[in-house]
């Protein structure tokens, strides 16, 4: 009998396209007993670059804490499992880490997209879930008490500083129109939507607003629309691949907005500069909560140790690594405060008090939203490296405005 080849092929196409998307509490062991901390990280797929940076940050913290005698006396071993940036795999991973590997503690994965399903599993087993990169509003909508987002501000506020800066410009320079494009991702879209609302309220007209699927690989038509809108400023809700693609497309079309900000991508240091070309980075902005030059708690040590362990320059360090390191710092301080590494005790401890990190001090509300009040700053590429330009309290240079034309 003849095989229905078209059906097999079409079926496989559908399955593969789907691939592309995406109890008991750990008891406190005796002091000096080695413990394992489990993390699901994206070592492949869309978030693989960020996943690798998380591993670097976590490993560095584990090395530091072990050098000081361990986490409350327990030598720490990190166990990583790859989730391939998949929302289903991340669930399986945490389930296995907790029930099969019986890890003492769990730390968070990369992105709100993966943190949301993972947090449900870890909460079910009453594990504390400090996490470095899941700060979208939907992360907190579940109302879980076991999750703690270790960044200075909730993600939706990431572009607030940027809008404040734009609206503070003298009326002659203030932009009149803005174009927006964002992934339909719980990390990027809330930031862009909030910025759009604030700018519209400030009198900046929306020339274009587009949301695109996170699985998009061809960004040319999207960029074309932004170019056609010919707005004064462009605000993009991106991860690194689309951040690079938009920059290239704008260059191709000789489109020079007065200001361009991307939610992720330009914060990836040398990696971003290599991909778009160092000369093309000039004037591009990104919201950032951490910089190698910040005078926050333990930041100098972190930066020096990072460069010693992984090489490169301080400017090459991904903010993801600093965020992961901060998770360890918070847990270290919470365990001392609770005098326990029992998950229940840690959850209770983390809901009160202030914790110092390389990103600055922070505390957490009842659903794990950060209450640092530090805010997120604006970084801008100037002369080949990203520097803080706003607010003036942390700025090392003045913002370049308008952004220079493409070379």
């Amino acid at each position: 009998m003849r095989k229905p080849v078209s059906v097999i092929a079409a079926g496989f196409a559908l399955i593969l396209s789907a691939c592309g998307t995406s109890g008991s509490t750990g008891t406190s062991p005796q002091a000096s007993t080695p413990i394992t901390i489990g993390v699901s990280v994206s070592l492949s797929g869309d978030f693989s670059g960020d996943g690798k940076a998380l591993v670097q940050g976590y490993d560095l913290w584990a090395k530091d804490v072990n050098a000081k005698g361990g986490l409350l006396g327990h030598p720490v071993t990190m166990k990583y499992v790859d989730d391939a940036s998949s929302t289903s795999q991340v669930v399986t991973n945490y389930q296995n880490l907790i029930t099969q590997d019986k890890v003492a503690l769990v730390f968070g994965p990369f992105s709100s997209l993966l943190t949301i399903p993972a947090s449900v599993v870890t909460d079910r087993y009453n594990y504390a879930f400090p996490e470095p990169a899941g700060g979208g509003p939907k992360v907190f909508e579940k109302g879980l008490h076991s999750i703690f987002f270790v960044q200075p501000a909730a993600v939706e506020d990431n572009l607030v500083s940027y809008t404040k800066w734009l609206l503070s410009l003298p009326s002659g320079q203030r932009p009149k129109t803005a174009a927006y494009a964002t992934q339909d991702d719980p990390f990027t879209q809330p930031q862009v939507d909030k910025a759009k609302g604030l700018l519209e309220a400030g009198g900046v007209t929306t020339a274009s607003y587009k949301v695109y699927p996170a699985e998009t690989t061809d960004f040319s038509p999207l960029a074309l629309q932004v170019v056609h809108a010919n707005a004064d400023v462009v605000i993009l809700g991106t991860q690194e691949p689309d951040a690079v693609a938009f920059v290239k497309a704008f260059q191709q079309q000789h489109y020079n907005p007065k200001s361009l900000i991307e939610t992720t991508g330009p914060d990836q240091g040398k990696d971003f500069a290599d991909k778009v070309g160092a000369a093309n980075t000039e004037g591009i902005m990104v919201p950032a909560g951490w910089t190698p030059a910040a005078k926050a708690y333990g930041n100098d040590t972190f930066v020096n140790e990072f460069v010693a362990k992984y090489g490169g320059a301080p400017g090459d360090i991904s903010a993801d690594a600093a965020e992961a390191y901060s998770v360890g710092q918070v847990v270290d301080q919470a365990s001392k405060k609770a005098n326990s590494i029992d998950n229940k005790a840690l959850i209770t401890a983390l809901h009160s008090g202030t914790y110092n990190t390389v990103q600055g001090p922070m505390s957490f509300d009842s659903v794990g939203r950060p209450q640092g009040g530090v805010g997120v700053y604006i970084e801008q590429w100037q002369g080949g490296s990203a520097v803080f330009v706003y607010p003036t309290t942390v700025a090392t240079k003045k913002p370049e405005y308008p952004k220079p034309n493409w070379p």
């Binding site: 078209s6 496989f12 196409a13």
Partner: protein, 291 residues
Amino acid sequence: MSLVLEAAILGILTGGVYALMASGLTLIFGVMRIINVGHGALVILGAYLSFALFRSLHIDPFLTLVITMPAMFALGVVLQVVLIRPLKTDREALSVLVTYAMALGIEGVLGYVFTANYVELRGWYETASFAIFGFHITYVYVFGFLLCLAILGALFLVLYRTAFGGAVRATMLNRTAAQLIGVDVDRVSALAFGIGVATAAAGGVVFGITNAFNPGSHYDLISRLLTIIVLGGLGSLRGAILAALLMLVIEDITAVVISPVWASFAFFVILVGVLIVRPQGLYGVRVRERI
């Protein structure tokens, strides 16, 4: 120039790249009646080979094809002999499993060697452009499209102007009858697989200059390539080219006129519509077999 027209031009230019990638896939199906779900991984492998040469020897990505296409051709022949030829029964279904395993193997090796980080091929032509009625067309898309035309033209010449091409077409029409008239179908199959894989290398270069890629990029790619060859008609080169252009033009126009969210959906609506009217695809041949 209007946005729709610009999107259509962009769709045609990028469609050429997909046509090149899909041509190898449909050729392999036509000759061997196997579904090579590892074709996307071979495209990405080709892109990485060019990336390695570009990074270590600073060879222009397009020029790397002089090395990568023959290398990929040889790899294709070996893969066919080792993995595909032993499949004597139930080839269509088993080939899916075997080539999927091959794809995972390639992804694993690439991940080990190059890590999972996204990389891109770079050249002066990636951002340089020229203007037509105010619309800037980037050189890389034009060069990519010309490369596609050249390779597809060469493929047509081989298929329709050489004795080997005659043997390939005979095998595509009826494998058993071709054997009866003296065609060495094993040899034809191995060479056709090699040619298909070599075109994947060429497609990989253009894909790698216009898109950031990592070892896992093949999943999205193969799903698109399979839908292209299903729409074009399995085994039809002309169909693959037309379907690739249609897919990208429809997606790009939908993205700018309605929303990027509906871009792929719009293409699938048309795919289903065509398959209802012509189940064999645009250029497919309806085959009746006694059961």
